[in-house]
Symmetry: D2
Subunit: 142 residues, 4 copies
């Protein structure tokens, strides 16, 4: 990765990690490649979506997946403005386990003039079954 790309990468990481909403949620962009991004969210009592089970709210997982997809798309091109989600589908495969950090890995696997296609999964540990998977279309970064 050359210097221009390296700087762009740092800029995108800073953009995401400085966002007020990501700070409030505890969402971090921890890794980025070309068309790839990983983000984590730490377990936190403020994120709970069911007080009986202490499971975090599905919206946290969705937000993490959406954000990771956006970072993956941005890393795949040279967007002048943040790319925008056009549409997104989330499949909730099972509840996240309480107290576990959740990690989402996203991949932008196809870019056309109109849109960028991206997919992602969210895990809460070493389990075979992810917590959720996502796929979506974003505004093209090229």
């Amino acid at each position: 990765m050359n210097l221009v790309k390296e700087n762009k990468k740092k800029e995108i990481i800073k953009f995401f990690n400085d966002l007020p909403f990501n700070k409030m949620m505890g969402i971090s962009l921890v890794s980025m490649g070309e068309g790839l991004a990983e983000m984590t969210v730490d377990y936190n009592l403020d994120l709970i979506g069911d007080k009986k089970t202490m499971v975090i709210h599905g919206g946290v997982v969705t937000t993490l997946l959406d954000a990771a997809c956006g970072a993956a798309v941005m890393s795949a091109g040279v967007p002048k403005v943040p790319t925008a989600t056009i549409d997104l589908r989330i499949d909730y495969l099972r509840s996240a386990k309480p107290e576990k950090q959740i990690r989402a890995k996203a991949e932008c696997f196809r870019i056309t003039e109109s849109v960028a296609f991206v997919r992602a999964t969210a895990h809460d540990g070493n389990d075979v079954v992810p917590v959720a998977s996502a796929c979506g279309a974003f505004t093209s970064p090229i």
Copy 2:
């Protein structure tokens, strides 16, 4: 609506408005009918997803739509446990305007033994074009 239903309705409203995550986000369940629910989220600097435009994060809109869909499904049946999102699609039609409250209206329009189908839209005022629309499948409340 008879007393049993009235009590169930109050219980669901309390369930949503007491959730730590909804409190942190500023999400309220403001109205509920049979298979219908309305939720709002107030504009708040902590929810910002782009510091240049001051627009709130798309994840806030998604979370609001997901939560409103869940409430609509719960109000359509007599679930013993909170219904769970199976899958959800969000279409982001335009950016929400800064400083505006966002209101989501959800409708559970079809229930089978396996699943409940639901759709929703999110508005930020009197505009003709919603901010986002959603459709999804939830675990059946019957």
Copy 3:
């Protein structure tokens, strides 16, 4: 509707009704407005997807909805080439009744520079519950 639009409309109707695939399926574009389109498919033993129930194949309903969405998008702009489906979600609400014609109504409700958003429902008669609903993103016709 002026002459240019009227001619464009005729052209789109001819385009769809002349397609080899639509002819084989028995799919017709029966009505078109600005951003609106209606298409039908006649019941036919060749379309059967389950020989025990004599219900037509889900793919027929999907194809009808996809085609109706495409026509609605084309009618909303002045596309030089046929618009293309970017992504599409279908919800199958119930089985279509054997021997019934199916009618899909599609509406292009939002156009941006990148994409056109469209939604549709498919009915098999006067019933309250549609057979299926759809929403999707298409290449922009403007």
Copy 4:
């Protein structure tokens, strides 16, 4: 794979390959494992969706993906009746090349009491970029 499974597999293959609609479309179930299925559709002038480009209709690809997903789900359990699609999302990544056979591979990767989750891709040759990808929820085969 024991005898019961082997017989079930043959039964499912026969079910799909005997369907009138699949015969008309030229769709074949060519391979099946536990939770896995591959289906092909041969290029045919009757399937054309754009007479200028001679590209087959998107509905053909969708139907192939939907059918392959259904077979993958059936192969993952012991369903007494054919499983039904609850919802399906298709992403159209590029046009299929004229005259090429299209092959869809589907995988049922998660089964719950309510639903089975499945994903699939469709290719038209050795290319890196698939023609389309799909993910969906089906009625549970268990």
